[in-house]
């Protein structure tokens, strides 16, 4: 343990000052225990989201319609595994192991992004996830590049670069559908109809209902509020949907000249809370499948440990 000569109150004041001055907090710096816990919660949730997010898109790798699309999709899902690794690594700097984080996921103590509890039913879903879901993720992650914790901020900078590439790929994947046969257009529109609202839900509850927000903002773990980020996403996405000639399934969506933003309808919060608390179409399956792969991999990980030990003892 490091010995500090200052009292907790003084340390906390110095910590907050450092945050206010936009200097990054690094792993060896003193930090309030609640800050550390909050970060572990958020970063591990983010890591789990990358990893669970491999499932809905991975669902189409073996069925991708062309060789080129298959390679693009496989490379994309591979990138997500990479993002999971960066993020687990960032969380590990806070004194928690990857194994502990995975255990927390399996026991339901850690969450992942609810969006991945919706099923990918058609090929168009893969394009829409790349376009909408990755756009929403980027809007959130751009603000997190400035998060106060150094390792998290640096992971976000790397991840953002790759995500914006994925987002363009998703958009590009939808273009032949949008300009294709009536069947293809219908497939794209159906995907849009199913993914639009869940994507808006990705930004979380309204600011007034968000449990973790106030402290996270003060500590600059979080830099912008859920509602601000959601508005940004809607504003940037409407023209893209127009370009693809896809209708946004919201009768209340319209440009508000006075605000300089799009107005949009109210999210179905009952659905949001149902999915968050485990009752989405795929929640159980996503977790089961992750747990299954993890358990099935145990003999391999054990073999690695045993082999490593034997090698070191000889």
């Amino acid at each position: 343990m490091t010995e500090y000569r200052l009292s907790d109150g003084e340390l906390e004041a110095a910590f907050q000052q450092r945050v206010d001055e936009e200097r990054k907090i690094e792993p060896k710096d003193w930090m309030p225990e609640a800050y550390r816990k909050n970060l572990i919660r958020q970063i591990s949730q983010h890591a789990h989201s990358e990893v669970i997010g491999m499932q809905p898109e991975g669902n189409w790798i073996t069925r991708a319609p062309t060789l080129k699309r298959k390679m693009i999709l496989l490379a994309k899902v591979q990138d997500e595994a990479g993002h999971g690794l960066y993020l687990y690594g960032a969380a590990e700097t806070l004194g928690v192991t990857r194994e502990e984080m995975i255990q927390a996921l399996h026991e339901g103590r850690a969450k992942y992004a609810s969006i991945f509890n919706y099923p990918t039913l058609t090929w168009a879903d893969v394009g829409v996830i790349g376009w909408l879901v990755d756009s929403a993720a980027i809007v959130n992650q751009i603000s997190l590049q400035r998060t106060s914790y150094g390792p998290y901020s640096r992971a976000m900078i790397r991840i953002c670069k790759e995500e914006s590439f994925h987002q363009r790929q998703g958009f590009e994947m939808l273009m032949p559908l949008a300009s294709g046969s009536p069947e293809q257009k219908a497939m794209a529109q159906d995907a849009m109809d199913r993914w639009w609202w869940p994507t808006l839900m990705m930004f979380g509850p309204h600011d007034s209902d968000s449990m973790h927000s106030a402290k996270s903002m003060q500590w600059k773990i979080k830099r912008r509020s859920n509602d601000e980020l959601r508005q940004d996403f809607v504003d940037q996405t409407v023209p893209q949907a127009e370009y693809l000639d896809l209708a946004i399934p919201d009768p209340d969506l319209k440009w508000n000249e006075e605000r300089g933003h799009y107005d949009f309808g109210e999210i179905d919060w009952d659905e949001f809370w149902a999915v968050v608390s485990g009752d989405g179409l795929c929640n159980r399956e996503r977790l089961d499948r992750h747990g299954e792969a993890h358990r099935e991999g145990e003999w391999v990980r054990e073999a690695m440990r045993a082999y490593e030990e034997k090698r070191q003892s000889t």
Partner: protein, 252 residues
């Protein structure tokens, strides 16, 4: 057999080998024992899919553009697929996947080295690229065989069973159909049979190093080059070709 027919048939077979194994390996994505391995297996899968794309593109050109790359990949039935059986076998458990990988990597590296000097510059260039990939694949699969052989009782049992089950699919890698044979003299293809002894020695060596037994009875099963496949092959194609079959003639 005219050389003009033999060349596209030969290249097609190489493409089929690559695509079918790439497809199989891609099944691991999201199911590997840990994240680093998800990434590594996806890398290998991407290498094979990339090879398939290059070989098929060449076939398409040799045919004067009669079929596109994707028509070649997605619109043939099992009997017209000419991949060797070892590539199409189900992934099985991690040991099965790695044992197969070691068997094919230990073949591919010397084979591709020779093929990179093919009299056909296009084939040579594709093979030369693939050599670099296979060098990395072999390093990895070799380490995994050693690790699983030297790890726990369970891992040793699993990797031994994997080799026992796969053993007889190895010899087919050294057989040649009439198209491939027809191209040896001109230096376009490589005499595979000349590589067999060395391959067998490298298998025996590594298995011994890993504390595994070389299966005591030699057996071999073949048929892939004639389009006579395992029953798994039809399901692999049904899944892979689903979109092209369900929505014929559309651009994606």
């Amino acid at each position: 057999m005219t050389p003009s027919r033999a060349l596209p048939e030969f290249v097609l077979a190489l493409g089929d080998d690559s695509l079918v194994l790439g497809q199989r390996l891609s099944e691991w994505c999201g199911k590997a024992p840990f994240l680093e391995e998800d990434i590594a297996i996806a890398n290998v899968a991407l290498d094979y899919l990339g090879r398939a794309e290059k070989f098929y593109r060449y076939v398409s050109e040799l045919e004067g553009g009669r079929r596109s790359v994707d028509e070649i990949a997605f619109l043939r039935d099992s009997r017209a697929y000419r991949n060797l059986l070892i590539f199409e076998l189900p992934v099985g458990d991690f040991a099965r996947t790695m044992a197969r990988q070691f068997m094919v990597d230990a073949f591919h590296l010397p084979y591709l080295r020779r093929l990179s000097r093919s009299a056909d510059a296009r084939i040579g260039a594709i093979a030369a690229e693939a050599v670099k990939e296979s060098r990395y694949h072999l390093k990895r699969s070799r380490e995994w065989v050693l690790c699983l052989g030297g790890g726990t009782r369970e891992s040793r049992g699993r990797i031994q069973r994997a080799f026992d089950a796969l053993w007889g699919y190895g010899p087919e890698m050294f057989e040649m159909d009439r198209h491939e044979k027809a191209l040896i003299e001109s230096g376009v293809s490589v005499d595979r049979s000349a590589l067999k002894a060395k391959w067998q020695a490298s298998m025996t060596d590594l298995l011994a190093q890993a504390g595994l037994k070389v299966p005591d009875r030699e057996w071999s099963i073949a048929g892939g080059r004639d389009g006579v496949h395992t029953e798994h092959h039809g399901y692999l194609l049904a899944e892979m070709q689903y979109m092209q079959r369900a929505y014929p003639g559309l651009a994606w």
